[in-house]
């Protein structure tokens, strides 16, 4: 069993294997990354840091690419509107 990391996604606690990206944690938690200007749901597309579709707010910093951010203990992640 790999080490587990606990973090919060939109206020709810979730525990994931260490090394998991925030994008995966969002998917496991069943949460959208963000909503487009026209109100459409958005999530990871390229998975490699190029498209910026997977932006979320991490520890209060908006527009972090969740596919490039490993989960850390105590992290607070929020979907963007």
């Amino acid at each position: 069993m790999p080490d587990q990391v606990s973090l919060k996604v939109n206020g709810a606690s979730i525990s994931v294997p260490s090394g998991t990206t925030v994008a995966v944690a969002m998917a496991l938690a069943g949460q959208l990354c963000r909503t487009s200007v026209t109100g459409e749901p958005r999530g990871p597309l390229c998975g490699m840091g190029i498209c910026f579709e997977c932006r979320v707010t991490i520890n209060g910093i908006p527009h972090c690419r969740s596919c490039q951010s490993p989960c850390e203990p105590g992290m607070e992640v929020a979907s963007e509107t």
Binding site: V37, R55, P62, T81
Partner: protein
């Protein structure tokens, strides 16, 4: 195209050409608009879309105020994509000298029926918490607005087309004037009236027009809703924008409906290349952060440049071009063409149809420039 003969042929489908086409068509004239690119692709695509009343001169005030009122009258017809938003401007004063300018501006506008409000340092900070501490205050102009220029141009052009105007895109010109417009593919359009509305390129088509390219840079950020509420412009802007001799930057930021922030601005003469000049971007962003340090934490997603059409007396050229009875100009709008496009169209079409313009037109007549030449 079925027809090649019109009452009016307009060259340039920027916001000025589009507004003129709409106005000519509204008054029942047969109009064609020609552009080598698409609608709103020139300075119109590059501009900030600040609909702003200015007080540089009586003539500048008259044109900007008249045009702003025309935008206000149109606002309910504008589609959502035009993003018209009456967010107001705050002219930011950094020192006592600029605070004196705030009071002067306030009185100037009060005398002319434009509501404004003087903000002290505390009210300024409350209005825009991301401004740095230590600024003196500002002048709030609540009727100023912002919009998204290329969509505004497209709206005006579509309305013109609904009123019967024809649009010829992808058509480069080889000649213009003497009642005709010759396209590079050999097609010739004839009309009693030709309007040169080619913005920063107008002097290439009509040699002798005193219009020079003045390059500008803009940066747009990702979405940060509520970071900024008003269009903010430093009052030092007036000093720097007027120094025609040197390159200048000024703090000028605009909130977009999407939560994005447009950061400007720069002014350069003699820079004819479209590419971004890195040192101008650095200067511009440094200036912006002097006023709003937190801007440094935001991520920018795009940078671009555009060319303003600058005239020596900072007023546009609207009216007949001496020497060719068929040729009229609607150009030279520098950094105010989004604001003044609607008024430009009104007073140009008034001149041509013999209607009574709502403001005196003399300050904008192209003949003023040739007169100055004669005296020089």
């Amino acid at each position: 195209m079925a027809n090649t003969t019109y009452d009016v042929v307009i060259v340039g489908a920027g916001i000025v050409g589009a507004a003129c086409a709409d106005e000519f068509a509204r008054r029942g004239l047969r109009v064609a608009v020609v552009d080598r690119d698409v609608v709103g692709s020139g300075a119109t695509a590059a501009g900030m879309g600040h609909i702003v009343v200015m007080d540089d001169s009586e003539a500048q005030f008259a044109l900007t105020r008249y045009s702003q009122q025309l935008w206000q009258a149109l606002r309910n017809e504008l589609p959502a994509e035009v993003e018209y938003d009456q967010c107001g401007t705050i002219w930011v004063a950094a020192d006592e000298e600029e605070m004196a300018e705030v009071r002067r501006k306030h009185d100037f506008y009060a005398d002319r029926g434009v509501p404004t409000e003087i903000l002290d340092a505390k009210r300024l900070k409350q209005s825009e918490p991301n401004l740095r501490d230590g600024l003196q205050g500002g002048l709030l102009v609540p009727e100023d607005a912002v919009l998204y220029p290329p969509c505004a141009a497209r709206f005006l052009m579509q309305r013109a087309q609904q009123r019967g105007a024809e649009l010829v895109l992808g058509a480069s010109l080889s000649a213009l004037g003497k009642g005709r417009v010759l396209l590079s593919d050999g097609l010739q359009l004839t009309a009693e009236i030709i309007v040169n509305a080619a913005g920063a390129w107008s002097a290439e088509l009509t040699p002798g027009i005193d219009v020079k390219k003045r390059k500008g840079h803009l940066v747009i950020t990702d979405r940060y809703p509520a970071f900024l509420r008003h269009q903010l412009v430093e009052l030092g802007y007036l000093k720097s924008a007027h120094s025609v001799a040197s390159d200048s930057v000024a703090f000028n930021v605009q909130p977009r409906r999407t939560g994005q922030i447009l950061i400007g601005s720069s002014r350069q003469f003699g820079a004819e290349h479209k590419e971004v000049d890195q040192q101008m971007i650095v200067r511009m962003l440094q200036r912006a952060q002097e006023y709003m340090p937190a801007l440094g934490q935001l991520s920018a997603i795009r940078i671009w440049t555009g060319f303003r059409a600058a005239t020596p007396d900072k007023l546009p050229l609207i009216g007949p071009w001496p020497g060719d009875p068929s040729l009229f100009l609607a150009t030279g709008h520098e950094g105010l063409g989004i604001t003044t496009s609607l008024a430009t169209a009104r007073i140009l079409v008034d001149q041509i149809t013999g209607a009574n313009p709502e403001i005196p037109i003399e300050p904008y007549l192209p003949s003023r420039a040739s007169k100055e030449h004669a005296h020089a």
